[in-house]
Assembly symmetry: C2
Homo-oligomer: 245 residues x 2
């Protein structure tokens, strides 16, 4: 049975119409890829102005359900894997539960930049860097390994911030204190090496995510880089596509 | 030198103010974590109404640069890795270049659901499924492997769609024709097995991404699941944080 628009309701007509059309799409009345009726057809069918129809279609286009194609009409959008995104906010839970979480610093030392660190931090090979290795434990079990390299400049307050083991919610954000202007992140599939595997209590060769970062200061100079490694049961990346109620 | 608001410009005052504040944040005048001056202070300083200041702050809050904290003021947001997201749209380029791309079907057969497929597709073990294995080549080189399992129902048009090797932009979207209502995706670190490694021209054990999917029809029943595997040089997941000009 066709739903009707109730003009006496508090909800504006365009919002009512948007939710009617949304239900029809969810029920498969207009399957993905199909053209929906023209504005004037919908306007006559529901007894609303063409402007109301346009607003309702605007809402659904905004929500990614419809696609207006100039000169051919409005279509129900097909699902596309390439339009999906993975968010890292699931990690926040791990780091915000400070009760069950512990950080163990494994190494904190002054070293010299190798070729890779020199390239990442825009230094010469052999220049001084601070190296930090630490591990995050949840309920006594190791869940994540962090290795960071920071450009060594004793006048920079960031060094102090880097070395301080602050609140847990800051751990994962790593260098992200007030001196960080911007950063780059890359997610890379890897396998645990001997050392990481030993520390994380897994077999060497276990597949894992490596989240690599470079952070920049307000002079746009890179001053820190490093990575977090976690086995996949710690770090799950899931997403949904399409019409989930 | 402090920038001024030009009321004779076409750009509204709030937008001018937003871009002045944005520049100040980018220059480190207000570092991440710091409180910006109150609305009335900014309003006096730039000779604009409190409403204009509120609008400008609204724009920057929308853009993720500022955070209003009830009762304490407005702060420059610190960068946080957990607020970042990885988008799969880089993959679109691969699939939309149909000139240099080729698909090779390796297997297309009727089989029986094993325990895992039965669970994913809500079937009993031994029920019929269609299995497809194919490989994507770019400029003659194999870059991605796809394995898919589809619930076997000869009346469903989706089976035909699944088996047809349509335009390349549809390959990656897999089952995503008009009968797909919704889907789940998970990104998993893995290593190439013997077969995949051989097909993709890599050594077995090479780290790779596995993108696993389940798709549902308009009765909310799962009807297909499978995965794409690609070595990391094909499938790069990068993102940016903070103020990139």
């Amino acid at each position: 049975m066709r739903q009707r628009i109730d003009k006496h309701r508090f909800e504006p007509a365009y919002a009512q119409l948007a939710s009617i059309l949304r239900n029809q799409i969810a029920e498969g009345v207009y399957p993905p890829g199909e053209k929906i009726p023209s504005e004037s057809t919908i306007s006559k069918e529901y007894g609303v102005s063409p402007m109301t129809v346009r607003q309702a279609i605007g809402v659904l286009t905004e929500q990614g359900l419809l696609d207006r194609i100039q000169g051919s009409g409005t279509f129900v959008k097909k699902l596309s894997i390439t339009e999906s995104r993975f968010e890292l906010n699931s990690l926040r839970e791990i780091f915000q539960d400070s009760a069950g979480t512990q950080i163990k610093v494994l190494q904190l030392s002054l070293g010299r930049a190798d070729a890779r660190t020199a390239e990442k931090l825009d230094l010469s090979v052999g220049q001084r860097v601070i190296l930090i290795r630490r591990i995050l434990l949840r309920a006594g079990r190791p869940v994540m390994f962090h290795e960071g390299n920071v450009r060594c400049d004793p006048t920079r307050p960031v060094v102090e911030a880097e070395l301080s083991i602050g609140p847990l919610s800051e751990l994962f954000t790593g260098h992200c204190d007030g001196s960080v202007k911007k950063g780059e992140l890359e997610l890379i599939p890897t396998v645990l090496g001997e050392t990481e595997a030993g520390l994380l209590g897994h077999a060497p060769g276990t597949p894992a995510f490596r989240l690599e970062y470079v952070v920049y200061d307000f002079d746009n100079a890179p001053f820190g880089w490093g990575w977090f490694v976690a086995p996949p049961e710690v770090f799950r990346l899931k997403t949904h596509l399409g019409l989930w109620e």
